[in-house]
């Protein structure tokens, strides 16, 4: 009980001073997209809400998790589909998971 409230207490509820709280949150918590930010320039797997996957190099992304990829191979449940795509913008609306390569 006490441990949990301690964490919550550190996150200020007050939003009247917009810059200060944001900084404090950033100090105490790791945001999911900050982790993905570290994968820029590396290989990544994008899993969609359907059975499709896109494997490629992560170039960038935004808050909607729209994703820019390079040298992309599309996969469905049967395996690779189509040719390598040099560069693309993938709509974030269908993204379920991002899987950075571990190396």
């Amino acid at each position: 009980m006490s441990g949990q409230s301690e964490i919550i207490d550190r996150v200020p509820k007050d939003e009247s001073a917009p810059q200060q709280p944001e900084e404090e949150v950033a100090l105490n918590t790791i945001l999911p997209l900050e982790v993905i930010d570290k994968s820029i320039g590396q290989n990544i797997k994008i899993l969609l809400t359907n059975d499709k996957e896109f494997h490629g190099t992560l170039v960038g992304f935004d808050d909607y998790v729209n994703v820019v990829l390079e040298n992309v191979q599309e996969y469905d449940s049967d395996g690779p589909k189509g040719k390598i795509i040099k560069k693309m913008l993938l709509n974030g609306g269908l993204v379920a998971m991002l899987v950075p390569s571990i190396n």
């Binding site: 960038g60 729209n66 820019v68 693309m88 913008l89």
Partner: protein, 96 residues
């Protein structure tokens, strides 16, 4: 930064990962407006044409549009408005 830093090597020399602001979706889109693109819908249908413009919903205006289903042209449109929710991805049809 103070000394006269040499110009960056002419590409290919494994550049460091760019900062998160460059290469963002917005930057990608700035680079492809006016170019030939492939728009793949979630249904698997492709639209190939010249990207006139798009908005924050990924609604797209295409010119000289060809509809491709399973690799064959099934329709041609002078202009086409594509509602963004159907878009799976946009890629450049030619090298950027």
């Amino acid at each position: 930064m103070s000394d006269a830093s040499p110009p960056p090597p002419p590409a290919e020399a494994s550049p460091p990962p760019p900062p998160s602001t460059s290469g963002s979706p917005t930057d990608f889109l700035k680079g492809v407006v006016g170019k030939r693109v492939v728009v793949r819908l979630t249904s698997g249908v492709d639209y190939r044409g010249v990207l006139s413009c798009l908005d924050g919903y990924m609604n797209i205006a295409l010119e000289q549009t060809e509809e491709h289903v399973n690799g064959t042209v099934t329709n041609r449109y002078g202009d086409a408005f594509i509602r963004g929710n159907n878009v799976l991805y946009i890629s450049a049809a030619e090298a950027l």
